[in-house]
């Protein structure tokens, strides 16, 4: 099987996010970029499929902070080719990124023909589009979002996938190959790869550049951020302060007074 995996870097929200002086974007010096979580699952799902069926995994990501790390890590986990798109204009959002992915997939030698494209179903900064449906539209591929299980019948040229619905319901779909899947969760948690293996990949793996001819890619953003802010604390929550024992006692008192420990007091 020939599997393409599209990766995207997003700000690590465990870090404090700061608004830039323009009031419309995040302060980039305070940002730590990490691989989008569902993209990590997409890579894992690709690795599981390769283990089952053999084949080649090509990982594609756009240039940016920490992206080399993500690509070397993917290679250390078992990706066969890693490609970095350069020349993507800042501020074009997910739609521009999706367009760049589609362009590179159709033009870089060896990426087509492919059987599957896997990418995260959604990223936390996908303000103007999602990668999976946008690329699916440009390349005219069948598309299923929120996928949490993938089984492929290579002979039948068909993928059998589970899409998540509310309430724990799963929809089982058949998608003809080649197809685009927006992955929510791989069948197993993404594997861990030791730092030593990533370092080894840095020495042996070549990141292939794929330059975009932006002049031909016109258009530009259709969506504008007018202002960005941290959500204002609604003031709704009463904050309890103190050592764990103190806050526990306070909360217990409050819950009891609201009848929420009723019937519990023996």
């Amino acid at each position: 099987m020939n599997i393409l995996v599209l990766l995207k870097m997003v700000p690590d929200v465990v870090e404090e996010l700061e608004i830039a002086p323009d009031g419309k974007s995040l302060a980039s010096d305070a940002l730590r970029m990490i691989l989008s979580e569902s993209d990590d699952h997409a890579l894992e799902q690709a690795l599981l499929l390769k283990e089952r069926h053999g084949g080649v995994i090509t990982v594609v990501a756009a240039d940016g902070p920490e992206v080399d790390d993500a690509l070397y890590t993917a290679a250390a986990k078992g990706a066969d080719r890693v490609v970095k798109i350069t020349g993507l204009e800042a501020g074009w959002g997910t739609r521009g990124l999706a367009h760049a992915f589609a362009r590179v997939i159709s033009t870089l030698p060896g990426l087509a023909p492919f059987d599957l494209i896997l990418t995260g179903t959604q990223a936390i900064d996908d303000l103007d589009a999602l990668v999976a449906p946008s690329v699916a539209y440009e390349l005219d591929l069948p598309y299923v979002p929120i996928v949490s299980r993938v089984q492929v019948d290579p002979a039948a040229r068909e993928a059998d996938v589970f899409k998540e619905y509310p309430g724990g319901v799963r929809g089982e779909f058949a998608a003809p190959l080649p197809a685009m899947l927006g992955i929510q969760s791989a069948e197993k948690p993404p594997r861990y790869v030791p730092v030593a293996k990533v370092r080894a990949a840095m020495k042996t793996v070549k990141i292939e550049p794929a330059a975009l001819a932006t002049a031909a890619d016109g258009g530009g953003p259709l969506v504008y951020v007018l202002a960005m802010a941290k959500p204002q604390a609604s003031g709704r929550a009463e904050m309890l302060e103190g050592a764990p024992e103190e806050v526990a006692a306070k909360l217990c008192e409050t819950l009891a007074s609201r009848g929420l420990l009723a019937g519990r007091a023996a």
Binding site: D128, Y137, I146, G167, G168, R170, K230, S234, L251, C252
Partner: protein, 323 residues
């Protein structure tokens, strides 16, 4: 009619989703502010009967086709694009749910128009729609406008109360013929979850754990507190993905929606996908080491601290009170 506000009437397995009424309530406000009609767009096959409860809208546009028998992203987007090209709506409101995911971006791509994701509210200023969007897992709010022409607005559940969008008025329905390709993706079956040992929706007290619980071994801390309170343990997505809790214990978009009397969220940041499943709990207690975690926006009581310290202290305090 050009300039109309459209709301996609989401339905699944024979029923309109509550979020449809939420979006109608929101769409009503936007349409009134712009002085244009509000129209619900209902797509399906043999589903015209669902139009009767959409009277919050001035009218219902119903598109019937075998390809629309299931709410799948590609045929839905194809149908909406055909209808939009003919009717030129000012905006199309689409719920950000698992059922409708992908419809908005596909529609925006087909129409070559602006698409906005993650809106929690829409307002009208100077005759223009502005979306208040929750980005980065709910940690940043952005006010977003678009370039003009039709805009596709993806709206989180919870923007308005569903009851505000319900109406006894039976709306006029115009049915249109659609010509659509046969969907390439085929639904084989729906798989309902296996019944678990507990039904989360019936619990009066839930102790929910998220990434902040750090390891499966620490689940015991939540279980002890749940036992002391006479409740059950549930979790947010990362805990389920790690396999620390079974799928039937997941609260949120892909899991169960719960309304317990008491919901204690420990080590849960409060991404919109989780909040959607628990925001209607009577009393919400949030424990998180990050004071800027969005979970504190929906909580009644907040504790900034390590869940691994607070959970056992709380269990002990509850037990001590029982005497």
């Amino acid at each position: 009619m050009s300039g109309t506000i459209w709301v996609l009437a989401e339905h699944w397995r024979g029923q309109l989703s509550p979020v449809t009424y939420e979006l109608l309530a929101l769409g009503r406000e936007v349409a009134d502010a712009l002085g244009v009609p509000l129209e619900a767009v209902l797509l399906g096959h043999g589903a015209s009967g669902l139009a009767a409860t959409l009277g919050c809208a001035d009218s219902v546009l119903y598109g019937d086709h075998p390809a629309l028998a299931e709410p799948m992203a590609q045929p839905y987007a194809e149908a909406l694009a055909a209808l939009a090209l003919e009717n030129r709506p000012a905006a199309v409101l689409i719920p950000l749910t698992n059922v409708s995911m992908g419809v908005g971006p596909l529609l925006a791509a087909r129409l070559g128009c602006a698409g906005v994701n993650f809106a929690k509210d829409l307002t009208v200023r100077d005759g223009r729609i502005e979306a208040q969007c929750l980005l980065y897992g709910g940690k940043i709010q952005a006010c977003v406008a678009s370039a003009g022409g039709t805009v596709i607005e993806g709206v989180w559940p919870g923007a308005r109360q569903a009851d505000q969008g319900r109406s006894d008025r039976v709306p006029p329905v115009r049915e249109v013929q659609l010509s659509l390709a046969e969907p390439r993706v085929r639904l084989k079956q729906y798989v309902d979850p296996e019944a678990g040992d507990v039904n989360l929706a019936e619990q009066e007290v839930l102790v929910a754990v998220g990434r902040g619980i750090q390891s499966q071994d620490n689940l015991e801390l939540a279980e002890n507190l749940a036992a002391a309170l006479g409740g059950a343990v549930c979790g947010s997505r990362p805990v389920i993905d790690q396999g620390w809790l079974p799928l039937v214990r997941q609260v949120g978009k892909s899991g169960v929606t719960v309304k317990p009397k008491l919901y204690i969220a420990a080590g849960i940041s409060g991404a919109p996908e989780h909040v959607e499943g628990m925001r209607d709990a009577d009393v919400i207690v949030a424990i998180n080491s990050d004071p800027s975690a969005p979970i504190f926006e929906v909580a009644d009581y907040g504790i900034v601290g390590d869940a691994l310290d607070v959970l056992p202290a709380l269990a002990e305090a509850v037990e001590a009170r029982k005497g």
